[in-house]
């Protein structure tokens, strides 16, 4: 058993991903870091319940999302920023990286429900299997699949709405630059 890695030592390697997951849930970088801090303290107190050899990141994400749903979702309603200035931001972006298409994407993403953002991050960005995502969220695999499909569809709809508003920014050449792929 001495070769089993110590999850307490490994924790730090998962902090960047925990922060990214937290930002996508809270849509606010400073609440996100508070959320990560709370989740880390909770995880630390519960490491005896972690089964060595299982997916530590999924375990940490479970704690993080449970913390979010039990504490932060309520709190956020109370401190909702009236101008919606934060709503469109997944994170603070440096000015020079202000591709409008990515801004559109961030804004569309921020309009999704908590469950939709969560499932897209887990499955689409983090690469969790449907089974891992189901376990992390405490729901059935079928629920994760249908949530993922609905979330992708909704995101596509929201981005198309933006396209119509800002046609000049969505021409092929711009999309090609943004996507890093040659124009078709």
């Amino acid at each position: 058993m001495t070769s089993t890695p110590d999850p307490k030592k490994e924790l730090i390697e998962h902090l960047p991903a925990m922060r990214a997951f937290a930002v996508s849930l809270t849509r606010n970088p400073s609440s996100a870091d508070d959320l990560v801090q709370d989740a880390v303290v909770k995880a630390w107190a519960n490491f005896d319940k972690f089964e060595p050899g299982t997916n530590l990141r999924a375990w940490l994400f479970t704690i993080l999302r449970n913390t979010y749903y039990s504490l932060y979702r309520k709190r956020r309603r109370e401190v909702e920023d009236p101008d919606g200035a934060m709503a469109g931001r997944l994170s603070e972006k440096p000015a020079h990286d202000g591709h409008l298409a990515m801004t559109d994407f961030r804004e569309a993403f921020a309009k999704l429900t908590d469950e939709q953002r969560e499932v897209l991050i887990l499955v689409g960005a983090e690469g969790f299997s449907y089974e891992e995502a189901a376990e992390t969220c405490g729901v059935a695999v079928g629920t994760i699949k249908s949530r993922t499909n609905r979330a992708r569809k909704r995101l596509a709809e929201l981005m198309n709405l933006n396209d119509e508003d800002e046609l000049e920014m969505t021409d092929r050449a711009t999309m090609a630059v943004v996507n890093g792929k040659p124009a078709a």
Partner: protein
């Protein structure tokens, strides 16, 4: 479209993952370790 969405997701996500870790987290881990050491002044005998 799904592929494009996932690509955008990964891009937005990896921007945050790549950001430097604020000091508060390394400080937090140091504090937790220290608390643990203090709590271990009367350690339970290590099995084995």
């Amino acid at each position: 479209m799904d592929h494009e969405i996932d690509e955008n997701l990964r891009r937005v996500y990896s921007d945050v993952v790549a950001a430097p870790l604020p000091e508060r987290f390394t400080e937090l881990l140091d504090k937790l370790r220290e608390q643990e050491r203090e709590g271990c002044e009367n350690p339970v005998e290590d099995k084995q």
